[in-house]
């Protein structure tokens, strides 16, 4: 029987995968994907917990997360486009004009 803990473990695993992606990826686009992965991991957790408690709040939270992730993508991609226009690259290592 697949229980709450299994969902949570899966969620944690996906979250970790996303986190590693964020830490390791050099391409900004991939990095955004990785954050989406993390948010989706959270969604899984919320959905599972919501079911476990038989409470709608978790699902509501998940919906909000989806909405926010969408707007994040919208804003993020917009930024990426300007950035790409300006620099011609999306490699993280190329944006380090400000430091110290």
């Amino acid at each position: 029987m697949i229980g709450l803990s299994h969902y949570l473990i899966v969620s944690a695993l996906i979250f970790s995968i996303g986190l590693i992606g964020v830490l390791r990826r050099r391409n900004l686009l991939m990095l955004f994907f990785a954050t989406e992965v993390m948010l989706n991991a959270v969604n899984i957790a919320f959905a599972a917990i919501s079911h476990y408690y038989n409470d709608l709040t978790g699902q509501m939270f998940a919906f909000f997360i989806i909405a926010i992730a969408a707007s994040e993508v919208a804003v993020g991609l917009g930024l990426l486009i300007v950035l790409y226009k300006k620099y011609g690259t999306l490699n993280l290592d190329d944006f380090a004009s400000m430091k110290g």
């Binding site: 986190l19 964020v22 830490l23 050099r26 993280l92 290592d93 944006f95 380090a96 004009s97 400000m98 430091k99 110290g100």
Partner: protein, 630 residues
């Protein structure tokens, strides 16, 4: 009578201020005259007071105003005219008056004539405060005041350059002035400590209160107080090991040497012992130490005088030696004899110095007695004066020194301190020798000075002014009996024991043999001109004496130079390299760690994200640790 006290005290002050008004203007003879007349007024007032005290036998005590009061301490400006202080006042004002008049002639050609009188009168004022004060703090005012005046006067010719010690043992007037001031400050500290001890044990600094309370004090307190006060006396009276400044002080104008460094200021130490005799008579150990040290200094200074070639330095050494005599007397309890010798010494020593001043004046400031000779003809009066003074100093009968010095030597015998007695007798012989060595080398024999020098006698009025001193140098001794009855109303009387009395003739004869022997020796050697003995002059002992036992060199090598070196080190190595560098080091450390820390700010987003992860781990670790600890 109270007004007279103030007149005696403040007349010199007025004179000083008056002269100071003209301090920066060219020479004005009337400045000297007014200053001298004011001093004479002061002398007259002192004399009247002396007469008053003598006749009535009561002291005059006035309190002018409050000076310092804090906590339980109350120090007034109070003045006490009793037998002891009135003696000092009279002696001081008398010698001062003579010296003032003398200076009008002596400083005739000096452009700072007015300034000189300002300083000189200020000195007398300080000296009067010193002797008249009715408490230890007031004494200290005068004590430091005379110190400053002495500083000003020794360094009177401040514009002279520093020269090597070989050329001039005192380096320069300003150097000698500073030395005198600093050495006196060392002693001043001792004096202050003495004052503190007295205050915290008695609760007052008034002489009468303190002396009345002495029986309640423990002997350790008394010893400490006596010792501290004596350290103060040692500095002012130039006792070993604080003696070097006195000979260097001869850099000042000669009248200064006569007044300050012979007759008055240097005797302040003796005066202190006499003034505070109730303390010292209760501390026999300290008193004996004083006597022993005094005897030692008497001999020690006389030995240096034997070979010195500097006219003024010889007299300075003799002053030192005579101060030793006074301390010996005071230490042995014969306070009135010490005071008597102090007064007699003031007269003949001032006379001697003033005579030396005449010689210098005649010789274009030449001081080397090896380069004089045969001045007798040109300077007859000076010769007589100096001869009289030297006879008095040597202790030849009928002259003042005979009575006073002999009494001291007898005291040493009377107390059973035969070693001291023997040394004092020997010193008496040495005294006679060096005094007459100087007289003969200066006035007798063939002339050894350069041809361009034309010796001439001093102004008439100067010679006349010196006369009172000469007369007193001769006759002062006859007042010894009267003096004894006068001052022993206040001071403890000191009488020779029966045994001593019986031997008095023998004792006197012994001293006389030494004195006359000394003169005879000097006559043999020097009366017919200078015959230099190379072998003797190159001998170790001669060199040791001529170099003052190398004590000034010792001080320079082991005190002055190391002090400068340590100071330099403290500044450059400790203050700059340790203390300050630590402060700057902390600042630099912070700055450097800032530089290191900013390295984390690479500007690379990937690093930033990693830092977030690291931070998360860090939080977990800290949380885990604190959870475990809790």
């Amino acid at each position: 009578m109270e007004n007279l006290v103030y007149i005696a005290l403040f007349a010199p002050f007025v004179g000083s201020m008056f002269a100071a008004l003209f301090g920066m203007s060219p020479k004005q003879t009337f400045v000297g005259i007014i200053a001298s007349s004011l001093l004479f007024i002061s002398f007259a007032a002192s004399a009247v007071l002396a007469f008053h005290v003598y006749t009535t036998g009561t002291a005059i005590h006035v309190t002018m105003m409050e000076w310092i009061s804090a906590g339980d301490l109350m120090i007034p400006f109070g003045f006490l005219v009793d037998q002891v202080s009135v003696t000092m006042m009279t002696v001081v004002t008398l010698v001062s008056t003579v010296v003032h008049i003398y200076s009008i002639g002596y400083m005739d050609h000096d452009k700072s004539f007015n300034r000189f009188f300002s300083y000189l009168s200020a000195f007398v004022f300080s000296m009067m405060i010193l002797v008249m004060s009715d408490n230890f703090a007031g004494l200290f005012i005068g004590w430091e005041g005379v110190g400053v005046c002495s500083w000003l006067l020794i360094g009177f010719w401040y514009h002279k350059e520093d020269v090597a010690r070989e050329k001039n043992p005192s380096i320069s007037p300003s150097w000698a002035a500073n030395e005198a001031f600093i050495v006196n400050r060392i002693a001043g500290l001792g004096m202050l400590i003495g004052i503190f001890i007295i205050y915290w044990n008695v609760g007052s600094l008034q002489y009468d209160v303190v002396f009345a309370d002495l029986p309640n004090l423990s002997s350790s307190v008394l010893n400490a107080a006596a010792l501290a006060l004596f350290i103060g006396a040692m500095g002012k009276s130039a006792q070993f090991p604080l003696h070097t400044w006195l000979t260097d002080a001869m850099e000042g104008p000669t009248p200064v040497s006569a007044l300050i460094h012979a007759a008055t200021m240097v005797t302040a130490g003796v005066f202190l012992i006499i003034r505070a005799n109730p303390i010292f008579s209760m501390t026999p150990e300290v008193s004996f130490f004083i006597a022993a040290l005094g005897t030692f200094v008497a001999f020690f200074a006389a030995s240096m005088a034997l070979v010195n070639r500097d006219l003024k330095r010889i007299i300075a050494f003799s002053t030192l030696s005579q101060l030793g005599y006074m301390f010996a007397a005071a230490g042995l309890g014969a306070y009135w004899i010490a005071l008597f010798h102090l007064a007699a010494h003031a007269f003949f020593k001032a006379l001697l110095f003033l005579g030396a001043g005449n010689v210098m004046h005649a010789m274009d400031d030449e001081l080397d007695i090896f380069k004089m000779g045969g001045l007798k003809k040109a300077m007859n009066w000076t010769y007589i004066y100096m001869g009289v003074a030297s006879l008095a100093l040597a202790g030849i009968p009928i002259f003042a020194g005979f009575f006073s010095k002999d009494a001291i030597i007898e005291t040493a015998f009377n107390e059973g301190t035969y070693v001291l007695w023997a040394i004092l007798v020997l010193t008496a012989g040495m005294t006679a020798f060096y005094s007459f060595r100087q007289v003969f080398l200066t006035f007798h024999g063939a002339k050894r000075y350069k041809d361009e020098i034309h010796p001439h006698e001093m102004y008439k009025f100067v010679l006349i002014a010196m006369a009172p001193l000469a007369i007193l140098a001769v006759i002062a001794g006859f007042f010894m009996g009267g003096f004894q009855t006068f001052v022993t109303k206040l001071l403890p009387n000191y009488e020779m024991s029966h045994h001593t009395h019986e031997l008095i003739v023998v004792l006197t004869a012994v001293v006389l043999v030494f004195a006359v022997g000394g003169i005879w020796l000097a006559y043999k050697k020097y009366a017919n001109g200078l015959k230099r003995d190379e072998k003797l002059e190159n001998s170790f002992l001669y060199k040791l004496l001529a170099n003052q036992y190398y004590i000034p060199q010792f001080y320079e090598e082991f005190i002055t130079k190391p002090y400068a070196m340590i100071s330099e080190k403290m500044w450059k190595d400790i203050d700059m390299k340790i203390v300050d560098a630590t402060v700057d080091g902390i600042a630099k450390f912070l700055y450097k760690s800032g530089d290191k820390a900013r390295a984390m700010q690479t500007g690379n987003l990937s690093n930033y994200l990693n830092w977030m992860a690291v931070g998360g781990v860090l939080l977990l670790i800290v949380a885990a640790i604190s959870a475990m600890l809790a």
